[in-house]
Point group: C2
Chain length 698, copies 2
């Protein structure tokens, strides 16, 4: 098995080396336009300020959590023999250290993303002055740096924790560190970015009729900062978390199957490493012709990476001892279903397909119809993905069940690992979006001319379309991961129960009233969680709308664009920052508190139900919100491209309203639900011992 | 037990007699205004045309379903010995007859509702010319006629089927008849009513700025017809269905516990009869002072009825042999939780409470904020109801579990029976709404003057507020009913499995991959179902908007209100009718087809999961949609009352957009989901034998 460890380590080193190379390549690209450099550094400064303040808040949260973890996990400190044979105190230290390592690596990954993205955005804009090909490469490679960093860190971190601690439960602590940070980073960044975006659109586009990214708009810099802190750093933390959780849940099971570091554990690492290598090849190959189609290029590299992964794993599986074809099948099914979910998502959100055009057409009758049709198609769009997740879980289970007890759930975990194997590629595609979005804004503000803006627009639109696909992917992977975490939860509970000499759980029967009780409450949590985030955006954006209106009213010459008159960008950045920091903690705490409450009331069975309800309604709402949001965004773009009356028409106004509603759906609430269900699953696993020891009705 | 049968029969007779008395009382009220009589008869004619055409379509559907039921249920016809001892052929006949009886009684109840409502609306308007007290009484008593008819028919029907067939499975056929008709009646009526409402509001209020119910608006009669066919007839069919399903599922279990007609079965009938008597008393006592508060009066009669039911059952329970206090406790918990759910719903939708006011305030920043805040509070509002249902199911289970095997689920069924015991009162309150809504329109069109319109407005607003409460009630009851139907499904499956000599199911474990598969797909169905209904409204309303715009453009003098110029009301009624009939079948069929498909793919376990997923996401979405819709409606009314800028302000426009979106949420999709989950549960129970005999993976 040393071979696999060496392979993984090798993949990580290559990934880091390639990331550094790409970063230097991006840095080498010309950056000459003074105005762009100036605005770019404003964005960088704004992003850094927010990140510093956010990490400050999160560090305090992590500190408190670390103390609680040290006291209570894996079991209350005073239960074990402190310095006994099982090394109780050492385990508590290890758990706490793993937790902190998870938070720190997650934070670093986000920070790197911001660093590159804010260097790449201006250069992409200037690249667009040259041609599409150059601009595409800068944007894509900028995104790839974060993709490689995230996957490299997650593989390295998981490997290090497992090799040092040799204890899968400690791995859950590491994963919880990554998740809890991701929850807040995603929520905080999501609130920040949509506060600015919504407020800028409503006052600028709708009220004053000035173009997007117009430098007169006081919220324009905040909007660009938001793209970075929400869509780059937040998304990076999110996928770092998903990737770690998928590996951790697979490793908890593989360790149980192997009784230590055996073939199954090796398989998890090997596949993750091969996925990273496939992503590196895919990233290296991605390019587009001078007049090429960027959406096609991005999707092509996803499919290439998928194919490379499938081939590489198919080559390695028969060569290594103990690697089983059935498990390969499970991971292949996961990956293929991920791609299929992406394609169906694309059908609902791509403006060359009928759905987006129907919603755009409905906008002619007023914004109510934009909303009603978007909500409806958003609901329908959840069906194929739900079926896909259901089928892949069923197939993975059936494939691996004959291998022996415990393999069925391991199969589901491997389907999740398979789906996330190409996450390096997914993140690259995803981070490309905000970079080119920023570039478009900078091209506008730097006065780079119509043609450059048109190229930037084309790149931006590709980013939007691809984003829908990658979101479908990450929600699907989160779904499979939490299903396998449900299995991990049961084995953790049973370990605790057997330690207490209590009767073991054999499953979670939905006719058991405590399970049912948990299901109903678990199902309500994602709704409440997303509502709190949306309300956060809503409240905050209203505040910012007030400020923008004030500036246009009070700063003479601003509206007319008189030379030398500048808006006060900083106040808007300040509003977004303090609002986001105020709102991010409650939503996260409510979900954790609900888990703890249900656990202490209904006991381990209720938590099983709670996790299920949470997963089911979380997936449904996440898919609905992400897809409806993407749909509205592209319907607006479709109208702006001159259809259904084009810019300035009533249909356009209605489509902009749709987009405004879709913004917090798709960029704040929708993707945060992913993290929310992972966090709840991990909290449940980690606290299983406490719930087993004490509960009111359980 | 004869005593109980006599009591039930007595209650039904009293209810019918009282209904006839109230109907005659309403008829006796003055109806003099020529214009009102004319418009009233237009509404009546429109409603009758739609009902005739709808019932025509449904009769064909029921005919096909009856043939299938005859061939396949309780088991395929060719399986049994046709004329053997077990009377196989007779059972098939009985099943088919029960099914048809269910559809016919449901249709009659709806028809009666329309008959009274369309007589009461004009009289209520003229009553409002006198005073609030008179108008309130006419509106409320008109609604009560349907309330009494629905409950009377459901109790009579269930009793007759059980006494004649002496077979609880046949009762499920009766219940399925009621449900399948309700599904289509609710969907068809819901699409009709909101097509007209949305189109009338958008063109009239938003585009032209003419008042609601202005006779110049070509859609105004269609809008009033819609109130009757959707909110009166559809709602009546819906609650007939819920009530029958709750009794049927309780009786399936009581028959199993009693081994025939014993104490538990008697208890179901006795409580239903006492609930009916309590409702009669409540209805007889309801009144309001000349300057009184109609909302208070309606709520007070609900609370009175609740108290009367609790007292009556508490008196009877110790007197009758075999009646158990624990079961009384379960039904009391159900009813009390129903009231609590109603009160929490009220908190989210009442315009004197902070939530509605916040949404109204958010409307100042534009319609996007109206929608975002409404969606958020709608999501949050689902939590208390979900917790309420979870707690009442848990408590009922725990209370009745000590009575012996099978009693726990019977307890949950009795909680549903308890919650629905006062359904006569609930329907009266609910049907009051559309009657006074119509009355308001008629007062406007009949030119009855400002003061009369103000009174009608006050009555209308009370109808809206109370509607929220009754909807919370009916969703809660549907939730408990389907939970107990889940139990009924398991006993039906096991009966079939034991007949085939196969291994029995002991439960539905969420870690079983077929169960999980079913859960995920089941959870997506209510989303798809409601999306199809909303799209139906959306498409249809766009068509009608086009027609209204055409009329205003082409009919000279219409916009200006020149004397003698009338719009073409009939074309609008025709559009709503044909659109609704076209859209109502597919949505219903999709849900039934999905159930059948999942059953034949995954087998009985997958269906168990499917039902659970369906229930959980169905409850969540139904609560979200109903409450968000009510919230927006009242936020608009709050603005119209002069707050946040009042009528004509930007906030008002935004609030109207919110209301337009909320309309199909709360009156088409939301309440139809109730029926959808009941239908799916019944289909599953009825087809359990087929799924047990054949499935791909089960």
């Amino acid at each position: 098995m040393q071979l696999v460890v060496i392979l993984s380590f090798f993949a990580v080193v290559i990934a880091f080396a390639f990331a550094v190379y790409l970063y230097l390549w991006v840095k080498k690209q010309p950056s000459e336009n003074k105005r762009i450099i100036e605005v770019s550094s404003l964005i960088q400064a704004g992003a850094n300020t927010f990140m510093r303040r956010e990490y400050g808040v999160l560090a305090r949260f992590a500190g408190v959590a670390a103390v609680l973890i040290f006291l209570f996990l894996p079991e209350p400190l005073w239960n074990g023999s402190l310095l006994g044979q099982d090394g109780s105190l050492v385990r508590h230290f290890a758990m706490t250290a793993a937790y902190l390592a998870g938070t720190i690596l997650s934070a670093i990954a986000g920070k790197i993303g911001i660093l590159v993205a804010t260097s790449a955005n201006g250069r992409t804009a200037e690249g667009a002055k040259k041609d599409l090909k150059t601009a595409f490469l800068i944007g894509f490679r900028g995104g790839s740096v974060m993709g490689l960093a995230v996957v490299g860190f997650s593989l390295l971190g998981v490997m290090a924790v497992l090799l040092i601690a040799a204890d899968a439960t400690i791995l859950l602590g590491f994963s919880f560190g990554a998740s809890s940070l991701a929850l807040f980073a995603k929520a905080g960044g999501g609130i920040f970015t949509k506060t600015a975006d919504v407020a800028a659109d409503l006052t600028g586009k709708v009220e004053l009729g000035i173009p997007e990214d117009d430098p007169r708009n006081p919220a324009v810099i905040a909007d660009n900062v938001g793209d970075n802190v929400g869509d780059v750093a937040g998304m990076g933390a999110d996928l770092f978390d998903s990737n770690v959780a998928a590996m951790a849940s697979a490793l908890v099971m593989s360790q149980a199957l192997d009784g230590g570091f055996g073939a199954n554990t090796a398989m998890v690492f090997c596949y993750a490493a091969l996925g990273l290598i496939a992503s590196i090849i895919g990233i290296a190959c991605a390019r587009v012709g001078k007049k090429g189609n960027p959406t096609g290029a991005l999707n092509a590299s996803t499919y290439t990476t998928t194919a490379i992964f499938l081939v590489l794993t198919a080559i390695v599986t028969p060569l290594l001892p103990g690697f089983q074809w059935r498990i390969w099948g499970a991971s292949a099914v996961g990956l293929i279903v991920g791609v299929v979910i992406g394609i169906t998502t694309d059908y609902f959100t791509d403006d060359s397909k009928p759905i987006v055009q129907k919603v755009a057409h409905a906008s002619r009758s007023g914004s109510a119809f934009t909303i009603l049709s978007g909500v409806s198609y958003g609901f329908i769009s959840a069906l194929p993905a739900m079926v896909g997740i259901a089928v892949s879980a069923l197939v993975a289970y059936m494939l691996c069940d004959p291998l022996g007890e415990g393999y069925a759930l391991f199969g589901i975990a491997m389907a999740a690992v398979g789906m996330l194997s190409i996450v390096g590629m997914i993140i690259s595609n995803d981070a490309y979006g905000p970079i080119v979005d920023n570039a478009r804004g900078l091209a506008e503000m730097g006065g780079l001319g119509e043609e450059t803006i048109r190229i930037a627009d084309e790149l931006d639109s590709a980013g939007n379309t691809v984003k829908a696909v990658t979101k479908g992917f990450s929600i699907g992977a989160a779904g499979l991961t939490v299903i396998s975490l449900l299995g991990a939860y049961m084995s953790e509970v049973n370990e605790a129960l057997s330690g207490m000499g209590k009767e073991l759980l054999t499953g979670f029967d939905i006719l058991d009233p405590t399970v049912f009780f948990g299901i109903l409450i678990g199902a309500a949590i994602p709704a409440v969680f997303s509502a709190m985030l949306i309300l956060g955006v809503d409240k905050n954006a209203q505040r910012m709308v007030g400020e923008i209106r004030r500036q246009f009213r009070e700063i003479k010459g601003l509206k007319e664009g008189r030379k030398g008159v500048k808006p006060d960008y900083d106040t808007c950045i300040g509003i977004a920052t303090s609002g986001a920091l105020k709102e991010l903690i409650p939503a996260g705490l409510v979900t954790i508190a609900a888990t703890v409450l249900v656990g202490f009331i209904g006991g381990p069975s209720a938590i099983g139900g709670f996790l299920l309800g949470n997963i089911v309604s979380g997936l449904l709402l996440a898919l609905f919100m992400s897809n409806a949001g993407g749909l509205w965004d592209n319907a607006k773009k479709y109208v702006e491209a001159g259809n259904e009356g084009g810019k300035g028409s009533d249909a356009h106004k209605a489509a902009v309203t749709g987009d405004t509603i879709g913004d917090p759906f798709k960029d704040t609430a929708g993707p945060s639900i992913n993290t929310q269900i992972t966090v709840v699953s991990l909290v449940a696993s980690l606290l299983s011992g406490l719930f087993a020891a004490f509960s009111l009705f359980g």
